[in-house]
Symmetry: C2
Subunit: 447 residues, 2 copies
């Protein structure tokens, strides 16, 4: 019997110093390797065993590095990346009414969205993000950029009552979105969600329609919710109840709902979201920067609500960096609850990977290094002298390292970023596009 | 008349894309250059004028970069950098009693402090920090590392009532500290402060002595103050009053006092600190990570209290990174006060430079790009594609860029760091020392 003939040939074997698989939770493996074939993880096993079991076409040695699942950005407006730092340090309503919305009213176009999304994809890949959940206009233009970049994305089909350069009214938004979904349905890296903008921009009738569609199509609903006190006060004034109660009556609460922000929650609302199995997209940097407030994350976690992390847009952050959000979420939860043990490093790594995937209904495909899942991965260098000494790689990823230490990003087994270079994005061409938009955005002052 | 003969020869002319001089406040210059001679800034002027006015021995062109004063880290325990991430996600008292203090009791030595401080200096230089205010044991060992690195430092002379491997009792700490100060008094880059550890570790008698000494020697007092609720409760139990009131009675409040942390302050205490002209060293990451709480920075700023930014130690942060602290301080002030306009980018840049210098009594020498001051500078690359587009360099420094974008750090006109390489620190030798300590720290589990 020839043993060698029985040794399967695989595409790739990765042998880093450490592997954090996320499942099982809370562990860090050493002397292990990850086997990848045909875009999927086929084995996570001791390195010596892997050498015996597989013949790998490519073998990557990563001493001093940690391998983990690619990060999942649970809330983005990728197209807005052209507005990075466009108007900072301003009160929220001034920022929106006098800067962001007028700029969008003047400049929004498929090319604006394509260029902004491509920049967002390049930035996210460089920081180990492999999947993002988007909410913006012209999702078809966003899809072009996403497909070029090689990323995985959940494209929100936006719904608002008021007209923009993209659509005229809620029905128009919906029909445009559903048509885009039909056109792009055969791309394995793209999926879709319904993205009603917020309780204050969407009517009861539209919400009911969206709830029905989400159930029919079995796709998530991606919604800004309880971001500011103003939103809540206005809902009470207009609808007699707080937004969450209104949504509950309209049948929107359930495991298909991704509530973005959820900054201002009372105990009963935390319980209600928990009871219905809703997910939260926590965006700590954006919530702080816009002066929205501090999310009660320790209480949300204690209630067992699933939460992931989002960057929000580059106009309110100003980086699309989940390393920053992991650190910020952990620090803020500890500081605001005055409990240093609240939300540890492994909990944050899970939030930025598996929990985000779960909110999107993609946890069967991505979010952990379980064999059978897609090989969406990132490798992070912890051997930079700046990070020494290192006692615990998980803790180092959250509190000491940064996205600048990410060296490789793979999606479905394909390397899409290495050492600051996105593989399928022509950066100099992208920069030409950004310069053009920068000139337009500064040459026409918004009045 | 020969005009050329009248053109002064200077050491260095730097011509970046932008200059943020901090004084005058809130401005960003373009088409300007900074002239440096004999370690000092001799001119800040339009570039064309500079070319006519000076003959520079060296000219550095920095397109796409911003030049600003070197950053001032107003609170550090540099020697503790060997304990980076040594014990994370633990309640404060568990962290101190079961991990940090036992590790120090076992390992503290001049070599521990020298190695840790050298690592801290390397890390700080790489992130644009030119001056730090230290508080740790064996300041003479710290001074050796500081002198090797080329940094500027204010060395705290620590005072506690209880014995450590460094000293036996408060009088011993004081006499050791003063002797060290005498020995090192002729180094132009070193100065000193008295560093009573905290209200709960220093007696009334020692505080009175320290107040007297600070007045005699005209040096600052560097003290942890109102860091946790526990500290305040214990003070009320033992002394009948909150720590600030106790210090007020002991004559400690005044412009020589740098109150580190100052997390828990009521309105009367903010007013009292303001009335006495005390300074605050705000350490937002550490305060959050240890679960201490959230400093009322917007109220402190509104009262006109001078505050700088500190990293605290790498055991509670876990990076010595003032870019992170600028962003964190701005975000946290906005989020906790629910005011997006609180503490803007220029205010943060001033906190991290001139205001820190002012707290240390060094604002006549460093902290802004005023001619006559020492040429303590850093240059930051904003032309990384990751940071595009850029509408406002000041805002970009605080919200988008990171220490990874710092390319040059000068102290007293000497380049001490360029492109991630500290000029006077042998990194491979340093790594050997760190590995040795890592082995000791992990081989002898603290019981």
């Amino acid at each position: 019997m020839n043993i060698a003939n029985a040794t399967p040939i695989i595409d790739l074997l990765i042998h880093p110093e450490w592997i954090i698989p996320i499942e099982p939770a809370g562990i860090t493996l050493t002397d292990h390797a990850l086997a990848v074939h045909d875009g999927r993880i086929v084995g996570l096993l001791p390195y010596r065993e892997a050498l015996q079991r597989y013949q790998a076409r490519e073998k990557i040695e990563l001493p001093g590095q940690v391998l983990l699942p690619g990060l999942v950005n649970l809330h983005a407006h990728a197209g807005m990346t052209l507005l990075r730092g466009y108007a900072d340090d301003l009160p929220l309503m001034t920022w929106l009414n006098e800067h962001i919305w007028p700029a969008e009213a003047r400049h929004l176009s498929p090319d604006f969205v394509r260029t902004g999304t491509l920049l967002a994809c390049a930035e996210m890949l460089r920081g180990g993000i492999t999947t993002f959940n988007d909410m913006y206009f012209f999702p078809d233009a966003a899809a072009e950029a996403v497909q070029q970049s090689g990323m995985r994305a959940v494209l929100g089909l936006p719904v608002l009552e008021f007209p923009t350069r993209y659509a005229a009214d809620a029905d128009d938004y919906l029909s445009k979105g559903l048509a885009i979904r039909d056109t792009l349905s055969d791309n394995p890296l793209l999926s879709f969600c319904l993205a009603p903008h917020a309780p204050y921009t969407v009517s009861d009738r539209s919400f009911e329609k969206i709830a029905m569609l989400a159930a029919q199509l079995e796709i998530p609903i991606h919604l800004h919710l309880h971001e500011t006190r103003h939103e809540i006060t206005e809902s009470i004034r207009q609808h007699g109840v707080r937004p969450i109660e209104r949504l509950n009556k309209l049948g929107l609460l359930g495991p298909q709902l991704i509530a973005v922000h959820a900054v201002h929650l009372d105990a009963a609302e935390i319980d209600l979201l928990g009871h219905h199995g809703c997910h939260i997209a926590h965006c700590p940097t954006s919530n702080l920067k816009l002066g929205s407030g501090i999310t009660p994350l320790a209480a949300i976690h204690a209630r067992g609500i699933n939460f992931g992390l989002g960057t929000d847009s580059a106009a309110s952050n100003n980086r699309l960096d989940l390393f920053q959000e992991m650190r910020q979420a952990a620090l803020l939860a500890k500081g605001s609850s005055e409990d240093a043990a609240a939300l540890n490093a492994h909990a944050m790594l899970a939030a930025a990977t598996l929990n985000g995937a779960r909110a999107l209904g993609l946890d069967g495909q991505i979010g952990s290094l379980r064999p059978g899942k897609a090989a969406d991965l990132c490798a992070v260098r912890l051997d930079d002298w700046l990070l020494q000494p290192c006692f615990d790689p998980a803790s180092h990823l959250v509190y000491a390292a940064g996205r600048e230490h990410v060296t490789h990003t793979w999606i479905a087994g394909k390397l899409q970023h290495k050492e600051s270079i996105p593989i399928h994005i022509d950066v100099s061409q992208l920069l030409t596009g950004i310069r053009m938009w920068h000139t337009r955005l500064t040459a026409l002052p918004v009045t």
